[in-house]
Protein backbone atom coordinates (compact mmCIF):
# COMPACT_ATOMS: atom_id res chain seq x y z
CA UNK A 1 0.00 0.00 0.00
CA UNK A 2 1.10 3.52 -0.75
CA UNK A 3 0.69 4.96 2.68
CA UNK A 4 3.02 2.41 4.16
CA UNK A 5 5.82 4.02 2.25
CA UNK A 6 5.40 7.26 4.11
CA UNK A 7 7.41 7.54 7.23
CA UNK A 8 4.80 9.41 9.19
CA UNK A 9 1.07 9.90 8.89
CA UNK A 10 -0.70 12.50 10.96
CA UNK A 11 -4.34 11.68 11.55
CA UNK A 12 -6.88 13.65 13.47
CA UNK A 13 -9.21 12.16 16.03
CA UNK A 14 -11.71 13.58 18.46
CA UNK A 15 -9.10 14.73 20.93
CA UNK A 16 -6.17 15.66 18.85
CA UNK A 17 -3.59 14.17 16.59
CA UNK A 18 -2.25 10.70 16.10
CA UNK A 19 1.23 10.19 14.71
CA UNK A 20 1.41 6.91 12.85
CA UNK A 21 5.04 6.10 12.34
CA UNK A 22 7.00 3.70 10.25
CA UNK A 23 8.40 0.96 12.42
CA UNK A 24 11.68 0.53 10.64
CA UNK A 25 12.80 4.06 9.94
CA UNK A 26 15.30 5.67 12.27
CA UNK A 27 14.19 8.42 14.56
CA UNK A 28 16.10 11.24 12.88
CA UNK A 29 14.36 10.49 9.59
CA UNK A 30 11.00 10.35 11.33
CA UNK A 31 11.67 13.67 12.97
CA UNK A 32 12.47 15.37 9.70
CA UNK A 33 9.34 13.84 8.12
CA UNK A 34 7.25 15.17 10.98
CA UNK A 35 8.89 18.55 10.53
CA UNK A 36 7.87 18.74 6.89
CA UNK A 37 4.30 17.69 7.66
CA UNK A 38 3.92 20.20 10.47
CA UNK A 39 5.37 23.03 8.42
CA UNK A 40 3.08 22.23 5.50
CA UNK A 41 0.05 21.95 7.72
CA UNK A 42 0.65 24.91 10.02
CA UNK A 43 -2.35 26.84 8.80
CA UNK A 44 -4.54 23.77 8.78
CA UNK A 45 -3.76 22.79 12.35
CA UNK A 46 -4.57 26.28 13.66
CA UNK A 47 -4.09 27.10 17.31
CA UNK A 48 -5.87 24.11 18.79
CA UNK A 49 -5.16 22.52 22.10
CA UNK A 50 -4.46 18.93 21.31
CA UNK A 51 -3.55 15.64 22.81
CA UNK A 52 -1.14 13.59 20.79
CA UNK A 53 -0.68 9.88 20.41
CA UNK A 54 1.98 7.73 18.83
CA UNK A 55 1.31 4.60 16.86
CA UNK A 56 3.44 2.13 14.98
CA UNK A 57 6.42 2.22 17.31
CA UNK A 58 7.21 3.20 20.85
CA UNK A 59 9.16 6.34 21.55
CA UNK A 60 11.29 7.05 24.55
CA UNK A 61 10.36 9.98 26.73
CA UNK A 62 13.12 12.17 25.33
CA UNK A 63 12.02 11.31 21.83
CA UNK A 64 8.42 12.21 22.62
CA UNK A 65 9.68 15.41 24.18
CA UNK A 66 11.47 16.38 21.00
CA UNK A 67 8.33 15.80 18.92
CA UNK A 68 6.28 17.96 21.28
CA UNK A 69 8.93 20.64 21.18
CA UNK A 70 8.80 20.59 17.43
CA UNK A 71 5.03 20.98 17.45
CA UNK A 72 5.31 24.00 19.71
CA UNK A 73 8.04 25.52 17.59
CA UNK A 74 6.51 25.00 14.20
CA UNK A 75 2.80 25.42 14.80
CA UNK A 76 0.48 27.42 16.99
CA UNK A 77 -0.91 24.28 18.59
CA UNK A 78 -0.58 23.53 22.25
CA UNK A 79 0.03 19.97 23.35
CA UNK A 80 -1.56 19.34 26.71
CA UNK A 81 -1.09 15.62 26.99
CA UNK A 82 0.34 12.56 25.36
CA UNK A 83 -1.98 9.61 24.99
CA UNK A 84 -0.28 6.27 25.21
CA UNK A 85 -2.35 3.20 24.41
CA UNK A 86 -0.47 1.16 26.94
CA UNK A 87 -0.37 3.65 29.80
CA UNK A 88 -3.52 5.74 29.73
CA UNK A 89 -2.91 9.20 31.08
CA UNK A 90 -5.95 9.96 33.14
CA UNK A 91 -5.11 12.68 35.55
CA UNK A 92 -8.14 14.66 36.62
CA UNK A 93 -6.68 17.65 34.84
CA UNK A 94 -6.38 16.00 31.53
CA UNK A 95 -9.88 14.59 31.78
CA UNK A 96 -11.25 18.03 32.43
CA UNK A 97 -9.23 19.45 29.60
CA UNK A 98 -10.49 16.80 27.24
CA UNK A 99 -14.06 17.39 28.22
CA UNK A 100 -13.90 21.08 27.44
CA UNK A 101 -12.00 20.34 24.30
CA UNK A 102 -14.54 17.97 22.81
CA UNK A 103 -17.31 20.36 23.63
CA UNK A 104 -15.74 23.39 22.09
CA UNK A 105 -13.33 23.52 19.29
CA UNK A 106 -11.88 20.27 18.15
CA UNK A 107 -13.86 18.57 15.43
CA UNK A 108 -13.94 21.51 13.07
CA UNK A 109 -10.21 21.91 13.28
CA UNK A 110 -9.18 18.35 12.74
CA UNK A 111 -11.50 17.29 9.96
CA UNK A 112 -10.21 18.10 6.54
CA UNK A 113 -12.04 20.67 4.50
CA UNK A 114 -12.91 18.45 1.60
CA UNK A 115 -14.33 15.14 2.70
CA UNK A 116 -16.17 14.05 -0.43
CA UNK A 117 -16.78 15.20 -3.95
CA UNK A 118 -20.00 14.94 -5.91
CA UNK A 119 -20.22 13.44 -9.34
CA UNK A 120 -23.34 13.79 -11.39
CA UNK A 121 -24.09 11.33 -14.16
CA UNK A 122 -23.96 7.65 -14.89
CA UNK A 123 -20.61 5.94 -15.33
CA UNK A 124 -20.72 3.63 -18.33
CA UNK A 125 -18.61 0.64 -19.27
CA UNK A 126 -14.94 1.61 -19.55
CA UNK A 127 -15.31 4.86 -17.64
CA UNK A 128 -13.27 5.24 -14.51
CA UNK A 129 -13.48 7.74 -11.67
CA UNK A 130 -10.54 8.14 -9.29
CA UNK A 131 -10.69 10.38 -6.23
CA UNK A 132 -8.37 11.16 -3.34
CA UNK A 133 -11.41 11.90 -1.21
CA UNK A 134 -14.72 10.23 -0.59
CA UNK A 135 -17.20 10.37 -3.41
CA UNK A 136 -20.94 10.74 -3.86
CA UNK A 137 -22.33 9.72 -7.23
CA UNK A 138 -25.67 10.95 -8.44
CA UNK A 139 -26.23 8.27 -11.04
CA UNK A 140 -25.49 4.62 -11.75
CA UNK A 141 -22.27 2.64 -12.06
CA UNK A 142 -22.87 0.36 -15.03
CA UNK A 143 -21.16 -3.02 -15.53
CA UNK A 144 -17.58 -2.46 -16.68
CA UNK A 145 -17.32 0.98 -15.06
CA UNK A 146 -15.07 1.59 -12.07
CA UNK A 147 -15.03 3.98 -9.12
CA UNK A 148 -12.00 4.28 -6.90
CA UNK A 149 -11.83 6.53 -3.84
CA UNK A 150 -9.57 6.91 -0.84
CA UNK A 151 -12.63 7.47 1.29
CA UNK A 152 -16.18 6.17 1.25
CA UNK A 153 -18.27 5.72 -1.89
CA UNK A 154 -21.94 6.61 -1.83
CA UNK A 155 -23.95 5.88 -4.94
CA UNK A 156 -27.38 7.38 -5.25
CA UNK A 157 -28.32 4.91 -7.93
CA UNK A 158 -27.39 1.37 -8.93
CA UNK A 159 -23.95 -0.12 -8.45
CA UNK A 160 -23.49 -2.75 -11.13
CA UNK A 161 -19.79 -2.30 -11.89
CA UNK A 162 -16.66 -2.08 -9.75
CA UNK A 163 -16.26 0.01 -6.62
CA UNK A 164 -13.07 0.34 -4.57
CA UNK A 165 -13.37 2.31 -1.34
CA UNK A 166 -10.42 3.09 0.89
CA UNK A 167 -8.12 2.37 -2.03
CA UNK A 168 -4.95 3.29 -0.12
CA UNK A 169 -5.58 0.48 2.32
CA UNK A 170 -8.20 1.98 4.63
CA UNK A 171 -10.29 -0.96 5.77
CA UNK A 172 -12.82 1.16 7.60
CA UNK A 173 -14.18 2.60 4.37
CA UNK A 174 -17.57 1.54 3.10
CA UNK A 175 -19.65 1.50 -0.07
CA UNK A 176 -23.30 2.50 -0.07
CA UNK A 177 -25.71 2.11 -2.98
CA UNK A 178 -29.43 2.37 -3.43
CA UNK A 179 -29.36 -0.73 -5.59
CA UNK A 180 -26.47 -3.03 -4.81
CA UNK A 181 -25.59 -5.41 -7.68
CA UNK A 182 -21.83 -4.98 -7.95
CA UNK A 183 -19.59 -7.03 -10.20
CA UNK A 184 -16.91 -6.60 -7.60
CA UNK A 185 -16.43 -4.55 -4.44
CA UNK A 186 -13.07 -3.82 -2.94
CA UNK A 187 -12.52 -2.16 0.41
CA UNK A 188 -8.94 -1.49 1.43
CA UNK A 189 -7.09 -4.60 0.31
CA UNK A 190 -10.07 -6.95 0.50
CA UNK A 191 -11.84 -8.10 -2.65
CA UNK A 192 -15.33 -9.58 -2.92
CA UNK A 193 -17.04 -10.68 -6.10
CA UNK A 194 -20.71 -11.07 -6.80
CA UNK A 195 -22.34 -14.48 -6.73
CA UNK A 196 -22.48 -16.13 -10.14
CA UNK A 197 -26.26 -16.26 -10.09
CA UNK A 198 -27.76 -12.97 -9.04
CA UNK A 199 -31.08 -12.76 -7.31
CA UNK A 200 -33.74 -10.44 -8.63
CA UNK A 201 -32.69 -6.83 -8.31
CA UNK A 202 -33.29 -5.40 -4.89
CA UNK A 203 -34.21 -1.80 -4.48
CA UNK A 204 -33.21 -1.43 -0.86
CA UNK A 205 -30.32 0.83 0.06
CA UNK A 206 -27.42 -1.31 1.21
CA UNK A 207 -24.00 -0.80 2.70
CA UNK A 208 -20.84 -2.85 2.14
CA UNK A 209 -18.15 -2.90 4.80
CA UNK A 210 -15.48 -5.17 6.24
CA UNK A 211 -16.35 -7.53 9.04
CA UNK A 212 -13.96 -10.30 10.14
CA UNK A 213 -11.67 -9.78 7.12
CA UNK A 214 -14.56 -10.21 4.71
CA UNK A 215 -16.77 -7.77 2.89
CA UNK A 216 -20.38 -8.03 3.98
CA UNK A 217 -23.41 -6.28 2.52
CA UNK A 218 -26.24 -5.28 4.77
CA UNK A 219 -29.43 -3.27 4.59
CA UNK A 220 -29.14 0.27 5.86
CA UNK A 221 -31.18 0.60 8.97
CA UNK A 222 -32.02 3.42 11.31
CA UNK A 223 -28.81 3.31 13.32
CA UNK A 224 -26.32 2.34 10.63
CA UNK A 225 -25.00 5.88 10.42
CA UNK A 226 -23.66 5.67 13.97
CA UNK A 227 -20.90 3.29 12.90
CA UNK A 228 -20.22 5.22 9.75
CA UNK A 229 -16.74 6.65 9.73
CA UNK A 230 -16.08 9.74 7.70
CA UNK A 231 -12.88 9.37 5.76
CA UNK A 232 -11.13 11.57 3.34
Amino acid sequence: MDYMNELVLIKGNRYGLNFIMNQDADFEALLSAIKTKLTDGKKFFGNAKVSIGFEGRSLSETQQESVIQMIHELTDMEVFCVVDDNIPVVSSESLKAMATLTKETMPKQVFPEEVAVFHQGTLRSGQELNMDTGIVILGDINPGAKVTAKGNIVILGSLKGYAHAGCDGERQACVIALNMQPTQIRIGDVIARSPDKFEKSRTVAQIAFIEDERIVIDHIEGNTHKDFKILN
Binding site: G126, P143, K146, R193
Partner: protein
Amino acid sequence: MSECIVITSGKGGVGKTTTSANIGIGLAMLGKKVILLDADIGLRNLDVVLGLENRIVYNLVDVVEGNCRLKQALIKDKKFPELFLLPAAQTRDKDAVSPEQMKELCENLKEDFDYVIIDCPAGIEQGFKNAIAGADRAIIVTTPEISAIRDADRIIGLLEANEMKDHRLIVNRLRTDMIKRGDMMSVEDVIDILAIDLIGAIPDDENIVISTNNGEPIVINQDVLSGKAYLNICKRIMGEDVPYLDLNVNVSFFKKLRNIMGINN
Protein backbone atom coordinates in the same frame (compact mmCIF):
# COMPACT_ATOMS: atom_id res chain seq x y z
CA MET B 1 3.28 -28.87 -29.58
CA SER B 2 1.19 -25.89 -28.63
CA GLU B 3 -0.55 -23.57 -31.00
CA CYS B 4 -1.80 -20.01 -31.01
CA ILE B 5 -5.00 -19.47 -32.99
CA VAL B 6 -6.64 -16.11 -33.65
CA ILE B 7 -10.41 -15.89 -34.22
CA THR B 8 -11.08 -12.96 -36.52
CA SER B 9 -13.69 -11.66 -38.95
CA GLY B 10 -13.24 -8.04 -39.88
CA LYS B 11 -16.91 -7.25 -39.48
CA GLY B 12 -18.40 -6.90 -36.04
CA GLY B 13 -21.27 -8.93 -34.70
CA VAL B 14 -20.71 -12.11 -36.70
CA GLY B 15 -19.91 -14.20 -33.64
CA LYS B 16 -16.17 -14.00 -32.98
CA THR B 17 -16.50 -13.86 -29.23
CA THR B 18 -19.15 -16.59 -29.09
CA THR B 19 -17.00 -18.74 -31.35
CA SER B 20 -13.88 -18.09 -29.25
CA ALA B 21 -15.69 -19.07 -26.06
CA ASN B 22 -17.13 -22.23 -27.60
CA ILE B 23 -13.86 -23.32 -29.18
CA GLY B 24 -12.03 -22.67 -25.91
CA ILE B 25 -14.49 -24.72 -23.91
CA GLY B 26 -14.72 -27.39 -26.60
CA LEU B 27 -10.96 -27.92 -26.62
CA ALA B 28 -10.98 -28.06 -22.82
CA MET B 29 -13.79 -30.66 -23.01
CA LEU B 30 -11.53 -32.70 -25.26
CA GLY B 31 -8.87 -32.67 -22.55
CA LYS B 32 -6.63 -29.87 -23.77
CA LYS B 33 -5.15 -27.12 -21.65
CA VAL B 34 -6.50 -23.89 -23.14
CA ILE B 35 -6.04 -20.19 -22.56
CA LEU B 36 -8.56 -17.75 -24.04
CA LEU B 37 -7.01 -14.36 -24.61
CA ASP B 38 -9.33 -11.38 -25.07
CA ALA B 39 -7.56 -8.92 -27.36
CA ASP B 40 -10.54 -6.58 -27.59
CA ILE B 41 -9.12 -3.95 -25.22
CA GLY B 42 -11.72 -1.36 -24.29
CA LEU B 43 -14.67 -3.46 -25.46
CA ARG B 44 -14.13 -6.68 -23.63
CA ASN B 45 -16.87 -9.30 -23.85
CA LEU B 46 -15.29 -12.71 -23.54
CA ASP B 47 -15.38 -12.58 -19.74
CA VAL B 48 -19.10 -11.84 -19.84
CA VAL B 49 -19.84 -14.66 -22.30
CA LEU B 50 -17.96 -17.08 -20.04
CA GLY B 51 -19.64 -15.72 -16.91
CA LEU B 52 -16.30 -14.78 -15.34
CA GLU B 53 -16.60 -10.99 -15.23
CA ASN B 54 -16.81 -10.80 -11.44
CA ARG B 55 -13.49 -12.60 -10.99
CA ILE B 56 -11.34 -10.09 -12.86
CA VAL B 57 -8.63 -8.46 -10.79
CA TYR B 58 -5.82 -7.97 -13.30
CA ASN B 59 -5.96 -7.91 -17.08
CA LEU B 60 -3.88 -8.16 -20.22
CA VAL B 61 -2.65 -4.57 -20.00
CA ASP B 62 -1.56 -5.10 -16.38
CA VAL B 63 0.48 -8.10 -17.52
CA VAL B 64 2.06 -6.25 -20.42
CA GLU B 65 2.85 -3.21 -18.28
CA GLY B 66 4.28 -5.37 -15.52
CA ASN B 67 1.73 -4.44 -12.84
CA CYS B 68 1.27 -8.10 -12.06
CA ARG B 69 2.68 -11.50 -12.90
CA LEU B 70 1.11 -13.39 -15.80
CA LYS B 71 -0.23 -16.12 -13.50
CA GLN B 72 -2.02 -13.57 -11.33
CA ALA B 73 -4.11 -12.34 -14.24
CA LEU B 74 -5.28 -15.76 -15.41
CA ILE B 75 -8.83 -16.67 -14.43
CA LYS B 76 -9.77 -20.31 -14.11
CA ASP B 77 -13.08 -21.32 -15.66
CA LYS B 78 -15.95 -22.35 -13.42
CA LYS B 79 -16.51 -25.76 -15.00
CA PHE B 80 -13.26 -26.67 -16.71
CA PRO B 81 -10.13 -26.45 -14.57
CA GLU B 82 -7.97 -26.75 -17.67
CA LEU B 83 -9.48 -23.64 -19.24
CA PHE B 84 -8.21 -20.16 -18.40
CA LEU B 85 -9.08 -16.63 -19.45
CA LEU B 86 -6.79 -13.65 -19.76
CA PRO B 87 -9.25 -10.74 -19.86
CA ALA B 88 -8.78 -7.47 -21.72
CA ALA B 89 -8.68 -4.12 -19.96
CA GLN B 90 -11.90 -2.18 -20.18
CA THR B 91 -10.66 1.29 -19.26
CA ARG B 92 -7.89 1.44 -21.85
CA ASP B 93 -7.74 1.24 -25.62
CA LYS B 94 -6.00 -0.81 -28.29
CA ASP B 95 -2.89 1.38 -28.25
CA ALA B 96 -2.11 0.24 -24.71
CA VAL B 97 -0.20 -2.75 -26.12
CA SER B 98 2.01 -3.25 -29.15
CA PRO B 99 2.23 -6.22 -31.54
CA GLU B 100 5.70 -7.04 -30.19
CA GLN B 101 4.35 -7.23 -26.64
CA MET B 102 1.50 -9.46 -27.78
CA LYS B 103 3.91 -11.73 -29.59
CA GLU B 104 6.00 -12.11 -26.46
CA LEU B 105 2.89 -12.75 -24.37
CA CYS B 106 1.70 -15.49 -26.74
CA GLU B 107 5.12 -17.13 -26.67
CA ASN B 108 5.00 -17.15 -22.85
CA LEU B 109 1.49 -18.58 -22.82
CA LYS B 110 2.37 -21.30 -25.31
CA GLU B 111 4.86 -22.72 -22.82
CA ASP B 112 2.07 -23.56 -20.40
CA PHE B 113 -0.91 -24.29 -22.62
CA ASP B 114 -1.78 -26.60 -25.52
CA TYR B 115 -3.87 -23.94 -27.23
CA VAL B 116 -3.86 -20.16 -27.03
CA ILE B 117 -7.13 -18.85 -28.52
CA ILE B 118 -7.16 -15.11 -29.26
CA ASP B 119 -10.46 -13.28 -29.58
CA CYS B 120 -9.72 -10.55 -32.12
CA PRO B 121 -11.56 -7.22 -32.12
CA ALA B 122 -13.56 -6.12 -35.17
CA GLY B 123 -11.80 -3.86 -37.64
CA ILE B 124 -8.38 -3.85 -39.24
CA GLU B 125 -6.61 -1.31 -37.05
CA GLN B 126 -4.24 -1.57 -34.10
CA GLY B 127 -6.36 -4.15 -32.27
CA PHE B 128 -6.30 -6.49 -35.26
CA LYS B 129 -2.57 -6.05 -35.70
CA ASN B 130 -2.04 -6.86 -32.02
CA ALA B 131 -4.27 -9.91 -32.15
CA ILE B 132 -2.63 -11.54 -35.15
CA ALA B 133 0.94 -10.71 -34.11
CA GLY B 134 1.51 -13.82 -32.02
CA ALA B 135 -0.83 -16.21 -33.85
CA ASP B 136 0.31 -19.30 -35.72
CA ARG B 137 -2.93 -19.66 -37.62
CA ALA B 138 -6.27 -17.97 -38.04
CA ILE B 139 -9.91 -18.96 -38.04
CA ILE B 140 -12.10 -16.54 -39.91
CA VAL B 141 -15.73 -16.26 -38.89
CA THR B 142 -18.30 -14.99 -41.34
CA THR B 143 -22.05 -15.09 -41.85
CA PRO B 144 -23.65 -15.76 -45.23
CA GLU B 145 -24.21 -12.05 -45.87
CA ILE B 146 -22.43 -10.03 -48.52
CA SER B 147 -21.14 -7.43 -46.06
CA ALA B 148 -19.60 -9.99 -43.73
CA ILE B 149 -18.11 -11.89 -46.67
CA ARG B 150 -16.64 -8.72 -48.13
CA ASP B 151 -14.93 -7.96 -44.81
CA ALA B 152 -13.76 -11.55 -44.42
CA ASP B 153 -12.19 -11.31 -47.86
CA ARG B 154 -10.32 -8.18 -46.80
CA ILE B 155 -9.13 -9.92 -43.64
CA ILE B 156 -7.87 -12.93 -45.57
CA GLY B 157 -5.90 -10.56 -47.78
CA LEU B 158 -4.37 -8.85 -44.74
CA LEU B 159 -3.51 -12.18 -43.13
CA GLU B 160 -1.76 -13.31 -46.29
CA ALA B 161 0.09 -10.00 -46.44
CA ASN B 162 1.26 -10.75 -42.89
CA GLU B 163 2.49 -14.14 -44.05
CA MET B 164 -0.11 -16.13 -42.21
CA LYS B 165 -0.95 -18.84 -44.69
CA ASP B 166 -2.83 -21.21 -42.43
CA HIS B 167 -6.36 -19.88 -42.19
CA ARG B 168 -9.71 -21.60 -42.26
CA LEU B 169 -13.31 -20.53 -42.36
CA ILE B 170 -16.34 -20.85 -40.09
CA VAL B 171 -19.67 -19.95 -41.64
CA ASN B 172 -21.96 -18.87 -38.83
CA ARG B 173 -25.72 -18.36 -38.56
CA LEU B 174 -26.77 -20.60 -41.42
CA ARG B 175 -30.48 -20.99 -41.94
CA THR B 176 -31.22 -24.07 -43.97
CA ASP B 177 -34.81 -23.05 -44.64
CA MET B 178 -33.69 -19.76 -46.21
CA ILE B 179 -30.95 -21.47 -48.19
CA LYS B 180 -33.52 -23.90 -49.59
CA ARG B 181 -35.73 -21.04 -50.66
CA GLY B 182 -32.73 -19.43 -52.30
CA ASP B 183 -32.84 -16.44 -49.98
CA MET B 184 -29.48 -17.12 -48.35
CA MET B 185 -26.05 -18.10 -49.62
CA SER B 186 -25.07 -21.66 -48.85
CA VAL B 187 -21.73 -22.70 -47.37
CA GLU B 188 -20.62 -23.69 -50.85
CA ASP B 189 -21.46 -20.26 -52.22
CA VAL B 190 -19.42 -18.60 -49.47
CA ILE B 191 -16.43 -20.85 -50.07
CA ASP B 192 -16.66 -20.14 -53.80
CA ILE B 193 -16.21 -16.45 -53.11
CA LEU B 194 -13.54 -16.65 -50.40
CA ALA B 195 -11.65 -19.64 -51.77
CA ILE B 196 -10.34 -20.93 -48.44
CA ASP B 197 -10.85 -24.20 -46.57
CA LEU B 198 -13.86 -24.67 -44.35
CA ILE B 199 -13.41 -25.79 -40.77
CA GLY B 200 -17.06 -25.73 -39.76
CA ALA B 201 -20.58 -24.42 -40.29
CA ILE B 202 -22.83 -23.35 -37.44
CA PRO B 203 -26.62 -23.23 -37.78
CA ASP B 204 -28.53 -20.17 -36.63
CA ASP B 205 -29.89 -21.28 -33.29
CA GLU B 206 -31.73 -19.35 -30.63
CA ASN B 207 -30.20 -21.68 -28.03
CA ILE B 208 -26.87 -19.97 -28.69
CA VAL B 209 -28.32 -16.61 -27.67
CA ILE B 210 -29.91 -18.09 -24.56
CA SER B 211 -26.78 -19.92 -23.44
CA THR B 212 -24.55 -16.94 -24.17
CA ASN B 213 -26.75 -14.72 -22.00
CA ASN B 214 -26.46 -17.26 -19.20
CA GLY B 215 -22.69 -17.26 -19.38
CA GLU B 216 -22.62 -20.94 -20.40
CA PRO B 217 -21.51 -21.41 -24.00
CA ILE B 218 -23.57 -23.79 -26.14
CA VAL B 219 -20.84 -26.36 -26.74
CA ILE B 220 -21.47 -27.71 -23.23
CA ASN B 221 -24.91 -28.78 -24.45
CA GLN B 222 -24.25 -31.67 -26.83
CA ASP B 223 -27.96 -32.31 -27.38
CA VAL B 224 -28.33 -29.45 -29.82
CA LEU B 225 -26.95 -29.29 -33.32
CA SER B 226 -25.05 -26.03 -32.81
CA GLY B 227 -23.27 -27.46 -29.75
CA LYS B 228 -22.24 -30.50 -31.76
CA ALA B 229 -21.07 -28.32 -34.64
CA TYR B 230 -18.75 -26.37 -32.33
CA LEU B 231 -17.29 -29.55 -30.82
CA ASN B 232 -16.65 -30.89 -34.33
CA ILE B 233 -14.74 -27.71 -35.13
CA CYS B 234 -12.60 -28.31 -32.05
CA LYS B 235 -11.86 -31.85 -33.18
CA ARG B 236 -10.87 -30.56 -36.61
CA ILE B 237 -8.59 -28.00 -34.95
CA MET B 238 -6.90 -30.92 -33.22
CA GLY B 239 -6.40 -32.58 -36.57
CA GLU B 240 -9.19 -35.15 -36.53
CA ASP B 241 -11.10 -35.79 -39.71
CA VAL B 242 -14.74 -35.34 -38.75
CA PRO B 243 -17.53 -35.46 -41.32
CA TYR B 244 -19.67 -32.32 -41.65
CA LEU B 245 -23.06 -32.38 -39.97
CA ASP B 246 -26.24 -32.35 -41.93
CA LEU B 247 -27.72 -29.11 -40.67
CA ASN B 248 -31.13 -30.19 -41.93
CA VAL B 249 -31.86 -32.73 -39.22
CA ASN B 250 -33.08 -30.07 -36.85
CA VAL B 251 -36.24 -29.41 -38.89
CA SER B 252 -39.32 -29.87 -36.75
CA PHE B 253 -41.90 -32.56 -37.32
CA PHE B 254 -44.43 -30.12 -38.67
CA LYS B 255 -41.96 -28.66 -41.10
CA LYS B 256 -41.15 -32.18 -42.29
CA LEU B 257 -44.84 -32.83 -42.74
CA ARG B 258 -45.20 -29.61 -44.65
CA ASN B 259 -42.27 -30.56 -46.83
CA ILE B 260 -43.84 -33.92 -47.57
CA MET B 261 -47.15 -32.30 -48.40
CA GLY B 262 -45.41 -29.76 -50.58
CA ILE B 263 -46.58 -26.73 -48.65
CA ASN B 264 -44.00 -23.96 -48.45
CA ASN B 265 -44.38 -21.30 -45.82
